[in-house]
Assembly symmetry: C2
Homo-oligomer: 324 residues x 2
């Protein structure tokens, strides 16, 4: 039997569909002809998404009975589990909430599959942050790099990642665990550094505020991926039917200061940059690079969108938004 | 200020005090002059323990409000968190229960400390099973060996171990995480292999049953510690006030078949050994050796009880019990 059960498309249920990745992923999958529905928790801005994805269910992933009812009524071929507390400072501030949502929420889905519908496939979205601070010879991270989470968000995701892999291994379930690097792109919350820079640069170009860009520590290097490349990776995994653990990264590291320089260049005007002590969170992990060799070998995916194009699109997205 | 707040002894609260380790630990600590109280969940056999430890509270570690009330009324210097689903097949059969008790139970204690009593110290008992299957050059396991849990019990403990270490690191709490190897000793449930052998050998000596010992796979090697050595390690950690992660092991591996041979030798009679297919669980981890170098350096602890003495004591314990 084919991966789609003979119908030629997949019935995909996405948790956290209202989030940055959820919105991009649902568009990517719908455009490819799949039947997309999803679970959301946060109402704000759901109207626009509902125009494209009519079957949206509001619910709490921690309410097992409700979740089970929804999943049984949708009866998906695949669940993509994105729903999570993904902002690191939020996880540090309310750790019990982060553990509940990120770990117990994942277990609720794993248990629904194990006990009610063991043929349903799962794409669990973990994070490359679980690798923590690289040791000598660790870079780029592969799927065999030891797990050493540095922050509370990464700790909750590491636990869920471990849980998903044990469910796959011990109960023979169809689970793919993806460990993406930092993703950026149009529509991301300004809680995240590149979006924050782009918003400020766009604001300065539009003459809003005092024209000064306020930044924290710029010395760290990260493996940035365009969110549209990331969701294409998820589509490749879903359509390919592969299981196991896969990193999703570009394999190269870019300095945060270089991102800012490129954004200022895109803006094309003189912009003053100031260090804001409020934004100076300590850099716990100086550099991250994430290999996608395994995913390339098993699904054919590799990132395609150049960083310059991504930054231009983010800048333009903020310019449009700030004009309104 | 001294580690005991000037009173010369510690007020220690033990979760899972009714278990195998809890009973040995409470005896060890009470004999050393500490004030011991504890939480139990399982009523059976609690009477005998209550004679030695008068302050026992019945409660569910998953009931946060109740737990908080109990902890506030005891106001311990140190919590030793032993309460867990520790039988591997139980965790595989009811994974959600194991995740709840082993991880969320630990988080409930960590949260009580973080939010209500950040000066309370915690000794969290993890397990060396989180290291999983050794890779080339891994043995003996040190505290820096990567975490790769193979079974569901180890997965839940790995998550709790990661959580405890992040709480220590991010909120500056006084937490020691101990990763003991397999412990054996008088009073252990026959769910565990050495106790099961000793019971059968003692039964054969007493002429109970058909005189045949039924065994599973004997090829695996484990790092066995006498439970009385283990609880002495916990006492050293409590009295020394050390924090961080510590392995508790003997540093050497003993074949399960050698344990059986020694028990048969102790019995001093001819005993027939048969392989029981029911007991033939697959051996997922062929050999375990756990270094205690770090604990020795920081607390002075090393194991003292020879394996032969441990096995004799277990054999005698079963002989007494079966005679009744």
């Amino acid at each position: 039997m084919s991966i789609t059960g003979g119908k030629g498309y997949l019935r995909v249920f996405i948790t956290g569909i209202e989030g940055f990745v959820g919105r991009h992923l649902s568009a990517e999958l719908a455009e490819a002809g799949h039947e997309v529905s999803g679970l959301y928790y946060d109402d704000s801005g759901i109207g626009e998404l509902a125009e494209k994805i009519p079957d949206l269910r509001r619910g709490d992933i921690l309410d097992r009975a409700e979740l089970s009812k929804i999943l049984n009524s949708v009866s998906p071929d695949v669940i993509v589990h994105l729903g999570a507390v993904s902002f690191v400072p939020a996880a540090t501030k309310t750790p019990l909430m982060a553990w509940n949502v990120n770990l117990m929420g994942t277990l609720n889905i794993l248990e629904w599959i194990r006990t009610e519908n063991p043929d349903t496939r799962l794409l669990f979205v973990s994070t490359s942050e679980i690798y923590g601070k690289p040791k000598e010879g660790d870079l780029p991270y592969t799927e065999r790099t030891p797990i050493r989470p540095e922050n509370m968000y990464a700790a909750t995701k590491a636990a869920a990642d471990i849980a998903a892999e044990r469910y796959r291994n011990l109960y023979d379930l169809h689970i793919a665990t993806l460990r993406p690097s930092n993703h950026i792109g149009p529509g991301q919350s300004e809680n995240f550094v590149v979006s924050s820079f782009a918003k400020q640069v766009a604001g300065a170009v539009l003459g809003l505020g005092d024209g000064v860009i306020r930044v924290g520590n710029l010395s760290a290097s990260r493996d940035f991926l365009d969110v549209r490349d990331v969701v294409r990776a998820y589509r490749f995994v879903l359509e390919g039917g592969v299981t196991g653990i896969f990193n999703v990264g570009s394999g190269r590291a870019v300095k945060i200061s270089d991102i800012l320089d490129k954004l200022v260049e895109i803006a094309g005007t003189d912009i003053r940059v100031e260090t804001d002590p409020e934004r100076l969170r300590p850099v716990d992990v100086p550099i991250v690079m994430v290999s996608h060799k395994k995913l390339l070998a098993e699904s054919g995916w590799h990132p395609e969108i150049p960083l310059e194009k991504t930054l231009e699109d983010i800048f333009r997205w903020w310019k449009e938004k700030l004009k309104k």
